[in-house]
Amino acid sequence: MSKPTAPEYSDIQALARFGHGRLKAARFLLLIIRDAKQAGEWIQSVPVSSAEWTESPSQTALQIALSAEGLRAIGLSDEVVEGFSEAFISGMSADSNRSRRLGDIGENAPDKWQWGGSVTTVPHLLLMLYAKNGQLSAWSETVMDQRFGQAFTVIADLDTVDSNSIEPFGFADGISQPAIDWERKQSTDLHRRDRFSNLLSLGELLLGYPNEYGQYTERPLIDPASDQQAELLPVAEEHPNLHDLGRNGSYLVMRQLHQDVPAFWRYIDQQVQGDPQEREQLASRMVGRQRDGTPLVGPAEQPVEGINTTGNAAALNQFDFDNDPLGQQCPIGSHIRRSNPRTGDFPPGVTGLLTRFVRIFGFGRKHPADDLIASTRFHRLLRRGRVYGEQLSQEVALKPKTKKGQRGLHFICLVASISRQFEFVQNAWSMGSKFGGVQNENDPLLGNRAPLSDGESTNHFSQPDAKGPAHCIHAMPQFVTVQGGAYFFMPGIRALRYITSFTESRGGPKS
């Protein structure tokens, strides 16, 4: 096999590489394809932003992702769609087992969603529009032309607000993101990098490249002998005779997460009997960071690969939990520790061959919950969400008259494996009521507080204390409610061309 080369940025949608942070205005449209031919032509006519770096960045951006239904509606054969992953094909809401695993039960149940929760409201296409502040409506008008109107029905038009990287509860957000090894310089040998690293193999983000296991994730590979259009696609790296529909594309997970900001601050306020300092402290314990993003643990002893070692990024993100195994500084169950536990393949303390052997055979545990949490590098998400709704300050949120309101996060993440990355994090880490040895509690922010099968409640949050007994709070209400969600595939740019090529050859709208 030839030496790995850097990817063709011009074939990758920009969102995989950039968060469009400078384009403060964004709008997400969830669409049903009404006329496949028009939809295909419209997609081909719009300027999909690529990941190529330019001197003068654009004032606007546009990204497109399709669901499995969308791929079928636009003319892709079932056989090709079957090449995508099981989770993508089934969709986020169609299967009760998946809903159980994701915590989408009770108030979060798909039948209560505003979109995506039933067969008729599963979107076909996600259109993401970005622009400089004040330019979004003009950009929308340019893009959403007459043909757009004929091609699609809008099932949800999701506005966002520029929140200055502060999420609605009031905490700095988006600090911890995995870095991607774009140049493919690091080894993809499974055993070469067993410390916690923030630098992920390209195959954890894009299909068509080796992932953290050194493997290619399954995806549709098409034989040009049976499908001429396949020539439009890049060649599959590990199968030179086949063309790769997945290459340079990512799965995109979207969830509309409503955040009940007044309930959050009122609950905390009530727990601390109105003491402002303790209020901040408890809230920061639940999140795992102070409001400005300062972590609750000190810097890592050995710098974590893939995180800057100087400047603000270092202060906010250059840490792991190796020196806080019991969660006495940052509670085990806190939001950031659940979302990114920063564990390596082995627990801390593996220094040589002997300690490694001792650990491989399961011995040498230093405390009971040692080695419970999975290795983090296999379960990372690249987040691209945006905040929506009018933002409340803590003071306003605490006023008795303040209403729940419509605000929260349009959560978006990009992954190469929906089940191993997004679903695993959501299920085992965020919703896991036994995560890392905690007793019957789920994520203090995201948790659905659903009782266990023996009726035990999970509405607790415990903060271990070096003095002995942990500080626990109880009867915590649900603060975040899922109100919509779907799995999409954000294709590479040539793949998008391929996907829309069927409507030309077949002509006419698909019924």
């Binding site: 994730t217 019991l326 399961g362 695993f424 036994k434 099968s453 607790h460 415990s462 007994p469």
Partner: protein, 433 residues
């Protein structure tokens, strides 16, 4: 110490009885995957020695699998479980306390006995021993689990009151108050902590013989193994190079009925059934490694973890059909995805030793390398061989293996006084407030 044991009753399902039996089994659930604990069809909760149990229909579901060579086996009804104390007395107990239910279920099977014949003899005759068996914590009885759960709950509530009253600063004071509280509760009959029963002497002797005997046998045959090792290595490598894989994603019609049953409790049952590769080498290899696995779980891994994996309550590997097929049944905490990830990231080498002898397994190198490390292939392989568990019982829903171990540590702290303040603090930290 009361040792745990295991039973597995297997019988061929009679012609035409498969669907009625399936319906009868499924009617024991309140919804798919959730046992109705008051079902009249089997009185699970009457057996206070029973940890976990399942009824399942053993079928060769993946007959479309290209690497399977054996003729299709008749469908079988399997009733397996793990209990405290010897399994023969437990089977006898079931034959008495659940006679009508067992007769009704097994009446769907071939050559079942007439009403006047002995049920217990029939059950014993159809009981199969596993080639390897894993018990998360040897000696922890169901009764103990329940008592310790109750202890943890009362202590937790009491500690909350005490902390409100005297604060957290003095660990010795907190412990003193908790211990006197336990004494008061015990005296009032609200709390019981039954002492461990004496270890049965015959079991103890047998166990000791096994503990010493297996290494002795290994030592004796080691020259032989060494002598033949060049051939064995040559044979292994040549097989590894040409053994076919069968690792395509199973069809949705296979996955959906399985997924429907999963993730109702923090623990899930897992059952998989597959063929062993046809060569003699493979059939001996799998038994050899299972023998070692059985030894290590009996004598080494009987305190809360199987190598690095801490989420398995009970597991068994059973050779069936003249050692040509292998059944694997386990009870694990978390979702199947995280179970498989645990496998792959923590014990790929161990899985490879045993399962690489299974037909279609992702290709290995030198017996322990690659194989399960090919994450997606391995997950498909395993899913493809998985069978639905029609009925599943666990005596302590909502509790993980880690929960049980923690409750035991809490109990230990009640009975054995910690020396240092640090140890007391650690003990207090485990009692949630």
């Amino acid at each position: 110490m009361t040792p745990q044991s295991t039973f597995m009753i297997v019988a061929n399902i009679a012609e035409g009885q498969l669907e009625p039996l399936r319906a009868q089994l499924e009617s024991m659930n309140s919804e798919p995957g959730v046992l109705n604990r008051h079902t009249a069809l089997f009185p699970f909760s009457r057996f206070d020695r029973l940890h976990v149990a399942r009824f399942l229909i053993l079928e060769t579901v993946v007959t479309e699998d290209a690497v399977f060579n054996l003729p299709e086996a008749p469908p079988r009804l399997v009733f397996l479980g793990d209990c405290d104390g010897p399994e023969d007395t437990f089977i006898a107990e079931m034959a008495v306390l659940a006679a009508p239910q067992l007769r009704s279920l097994f009446s769907h099977c071939e050559s079942f006995i007439a009403p006047h014949e002995s049920l217990v003899n029939w059950l014993q005759k159809h009981n199969i021993q596993p080639a390897a068996n894993y018990i998360n914590w040897l000696g922890r009885t169901v009764k103990q689990v329940h008592e310790e759960e109750r202890l943890q709950q009362t202590l937790s509530m009491q500690l909350r009151l005490i902390v409100d009253e005297v604060g957290r600063d003095d660990p010795r004071e907190l412990r003193q108050q908790l211990l006197s509280f336990v004494e008061r509760e015990k005296a009032a009959g609200r709390l019981t902590l039954t002492p461990s029963a004496p270890t049965p002497i015959v079991w103890w002797l047998k166990n000791l013989l096994h503990k010493l005997g297996v290494p002795l046998i290994l030592l004796l045959i080691s020259p032989l193994l060494l002598l033949f090792s060049p051939y064995l290595i040559y044979r292994l490598r040549s097989l590894e190079k040409r053994d076919p894989e069968s690792v395509a994603r199973p069809p949705r019609t296979h996955i959906q009925p399985l997924a429907m049953l999963e993730d109702h409790d923090v623990t899930n049952p897992f059952t998989a059934f597959g063929e062993v590769k046809p060569q003699h080498f493979r059939r001996y290899a799998v038994r050899f490694f299972l023998w070692l696995l059985d030894y290590s779980s009996r004598h080494v891994y009987n305190r809360g973890h199987l190598t690095r994996v801490q989420t398995i309550h009970f597991a068994r590997w059973v050779m069936m059909d003249d050692n040509r097929r292998l059944l694997f049944a386990s009870n694990y905490d978390g979702s199947l995805e995280s179970y498989m990830d645990d496998f792959i990231n923590k014990v790929a080498w161990g899985l490879n030793l045993v399962f690489s002898n299974g037909a279609g397994y992702p290709s290995t190198r030198w017996l322990i390398k690659r194989g399960a490390e090919q994450e997606q292939k391995f997950k498909h392989f395993l899913r493809r061989r998985q069978l639905p568990t029609q009925v599943w019982y666990k005596a302590y829903p909502g509790k993980t293996a880690f929960d049980l171990a923690r409750n035991s540590r809490i109990r230990e702290g009640v009975e054995v006084r910690q020396e240092s303040d640090d140890e007391i603090r650690q003990w207090l930290a485990e009692i949630q407030v």
